[in-house]
Homo-oligomer: 329 residues x 2
């Protein structure tokens, strides 16, 4: 038996999710975002399914993907200004493209020996990205500094959770009109955007940076998407209180809590503390000491980032241990 | 310059917090809880200040403390039912006391070769702990199984954040009356309870399991406690948007989010996403690209658990790198 707390992945659900996204976004139409699962073993499965270009969020993710032999086309979809990090990035033995959204970022990337960039454009999410009106100028600066400009990216993260599909489509279209305007000014072949929430509604970007589809969380499960919840936090019951609650041996240190409590199919999660989750069993459900229960995380990415490994399961059988080797910065 | 994102600790504030708690709880009156900082280098500082008995939450914390030569008196203030984890615990070369709250727990601990236990009592927090009426019976079972029963513990975690001091005292007194009743039935020398929020108001326990006082968080800062915020998340500004926001290169993967967003002394935190925090600078504050800013975490324990190391600082000077060596389970 695997030790708890542990992240477990059901192979059939994982395979379903890979097949499902590939039907809509074959090959390079999907640029899987490794920040959601931080695991090169899972990235290899996506590569085997034909998706060989990847999105990364940190320098360590880029380094780890290159080391794992998955460096064919790595996009670091994030700004890097730190000169030491830029030096590390330029030293990676892979095809690396870096996002830039400022003149300073362009200048530092060029000085560090970065050869390919992509212009990150503000498409409505209050985060990184230049104004669409500035994108052409930044591309010119990058080319003048000798770098290859591969195109644009813009992440419509503020639209991932628009529950109504028609409203989502219309808002994504408006958001992407800014990206298309920038793309015209910038040139290059890439118009990169999207995420799991808009993987089939963002038809304006020519590649989608989705990651959460692979393993799932209860937040994305609220949308009308065809993916399955493939990952669970397996824990063991430590304590049964005669007043009616049970306590599992995994708490908020094993979970990302920014989207709230995890869910439990057989009852209610009362609350999480550092090392415990207090549960009440649903009607007809009886818990015993040391029994295993599985919780579904509310937010995948920060949950995975808290663990050292995941276990690939086929029911009770362990198929593989998957190290979460892309953690940290 | 240290790479960002990074946890930084100001030495003067750390020293102040150690001296302040020692004035109220000298020596073994404080049993520091390592789950809050997960770092044997910091535990050594507490030991040097006279606190040589420690509280742990996980088997790995116990193992790590023993390896670091801090195994004089380690309390695992948590139930363990898993036989493999119990075997590991019994193999630790240290004086280890384990919390038990069930007959099954007592039987498994004895079978694994655990020699000392303490009865964990429900004092009002819906989590682990037996009924005060069951404590004596469990102690008898443990003694009959050949184990030393060192006393009782009860964590009044539901009272840590009672803001009014007089109300806190009266509620803690009521909660601890249950623990004292159990202590009478159990015997032994330890009546262990408390935490940072009640370190000076819980005068009924004879040792206090506080940990957060050492480094602090914005949740505890709401109380009338004399501790200083010693830890900060140092990050770098990645992007400045003409619409008025700035983006720092650390997000919710570098923070515990269950108590909400971190705070920033020089402005407002708009929101955190996986790898970013979007900020708006306060009046008169100007931010530049790649500038360092420091955020204060809302919840210490899960924030520390997300990192590999902390940096001990004296202003801009790095004094020491502190590995967070007690992470995971």
């Amino acid at each position: 038996m695997i030790p708890t707390p542990a992240l477990v992945i059901e192979r059939a659900d994982l395979d379903h999710n890979i097949a499902t996204i590939g039907a809509t976004l074959p090959g390079v139409k999907l640029r899987p975002h490794v920040k959601a699962f931080k695991c090169t073993a899972l990235a290899h499965r996506l590569a085997a399914a034909g998706h060989r270009s990847f999105t990364c969020a940190t320098v360590r993710e880029v380094e780890g993907m290159a080391t794992a032999g998955l460096g064919e086309d790595l996009l670091l979809a994030n700004e890097v200004l730190d000169r030491e990090q830029l030096r590390r990035l330029a030293a990676v033995d892979a095809n690396v493209t870096l996002a830039v959204d400022s003149s300073e970022g362009v200048a530092r990337a060029a000085a560090a020996g970065i050869t390919s960039v992509l212009i990150d454009v503000d498409v409505g999410l209050p985060r990184c990205g230049c104004s669409p009106d500035d994108a052409g100028r930044l591309a010119d600066e990058a080319r003048a500094a000798g770098m290859n400009v591969r195109g644009v990216m813009g992440y419509e993260g503020h639209l991932m959770m628009v529950l109504d599909r028609r409203e989502r489509i219309s808002k994504v279209q408006h958001s992407m009109s800014n990206l298309l305007r920038a793309a015209e000014a910038v040139g290059g072949e890439l118009i990169s955007g999207g995420g799991t929430g808009t993987y089939d509604t963002n038809t304006w970007a020519n590649e989608i940076q989705a990651g959460s589809f692979l393993l799932g969380d209860t937040q994305y499960a609220r949308l009308d998407l065809p993916f399955r919840q493939a990952i669970h936090l397996e824990c063991s019951i430590l304590s049964l209180n005669p007043k009616g609650w049970a306590v599992a041996n995994a708490g908020l240190k094993a979970l990302g809590m920014d989207h709230g409590n995890p869910s439990w199919a057989d009852g209610e999660v009362l609350y999480c503390s550092d090392e415990h989750t207090t549960l009440t069993a649903g009607e007809g459900v009886t818990l015993e000491l040391d029994q295993r229960v599985r919780l579904d995380p509310a937010h995948l990415d920060p949950t995975v980032a808290r663990h050292e490994e995941m276990w690939l399961m086929e029911g009770a059988e362990v198929i593989d241990r998957l190290p979460i080797d892309l953690r940290h910065w």
